[in-house]
Symmetry: C2
Subunit: 144 residues, 2 copies
DNA sequence: GTATTTATGTAGACTTTGTCTAAAAAGCTG
DNA sequence: CAGCTTTTTAGACAAAGTCTACATAAATAC
């Protein structure tokens, strides 16, 4: 009766297919990175991805990690989350959702967007179109 | 019948007092920086402040600009806006409000918060307290 | 006032995140 | 396989921001 909070979005053996479907040639490096993003933790910085992917054996260069994360973001497989002034997080949950950001710990926690409502936003400046609404609730450790 | 969008928050001659009231010793450098923030444009990066303050004559060092902006933010005179992955903006409007962020131009536009409502946010993780809710509507130039 | 202590400011080295470049390697296509 | 395009790479580079060790200024004591 329990729902797992976040199941792997894509199983390991379907990753290459998942990339192909999104118009991305599944090279070895891209699959390695995708496996990390789509089967494990949710919010990772480029640096963390770089470290994890090369943990056992040097497989992927820094440039490729940055290129690949940027590519995945452009293709919509991953979402950039900008909450920390010093680095970008990549979120493999691309469903509409928001975040708690714990300023003290750096922790990022999902808030399901289906239950949150934002009302009465003014009209967009003319000549522009929206590409996303990000709500970040900044939190910190409460001093008793 | 026109309303100015944003009047200077603090007039030049009251700046030292404004700092003092907030528990900040008004040194020459701090007053110089405060003048830029509180009587002119709204959203500036540290680099922009550094450039403006030293435009005519080298007055303030880089370290001091960063220290001062951080101090002002901690004391609540200014608000850090994190929307651009490469730099922090300092917003001299500290009233509750949100932002349109034009990804193509880097432009940041205020959205008055009094009219916007956010509902049904879940409870905060235990042991934490909220320190702010930031809504960023990312926009881009619409391709006709 | 002058001495002492404390708070600020500074230049410049340094760190970190991220980008760029030029060349190598890998994938295609005929 | 020859000739092309795409991807990957190491390492140089860039930009934002921090740190350090010392100088300056301001506050306090005497």
């Amino acid at each position: 009766m329990e729902m797992v909070t976040q199941q792997p979005l894509v199983e390991a053996e379907h990753i290459a297919e998942h990339l192909r479907v999104h118009g991305i040639t599944p090279t070895q490096q891209r699959v390695d990175i995708a496996e990390i993003l789509f089967t494990r933790a949710q919010h990772l910085s480029a640096d963390q991805v770089l470290e994890i992917v090369n943990r056992d054996k040097a497989l992927v260069s820094k440039a490729t990690v940055y290129n690949t994360l940027g590519l995945f973001a452009r293709k919509g497989l991953v979402r950039e989350v900008i909450v920390d002034p010093s680095k970008v997080f990549y979120d493999s949950n691309v469903e509409g959702h928001h975040h708690f950001y714990n300023v003290d710990t750096g922790e990022l926690i999902d808030i399901d967007a289906t239950q949150v409502t934002i009302e009465n936003l003014p009209e967009l400046p003319s000549g522009t179109q929206a590409s996303g609404v990000d709500v970040v609730v900044r939190i910190c450790q409460s001093k008793s």
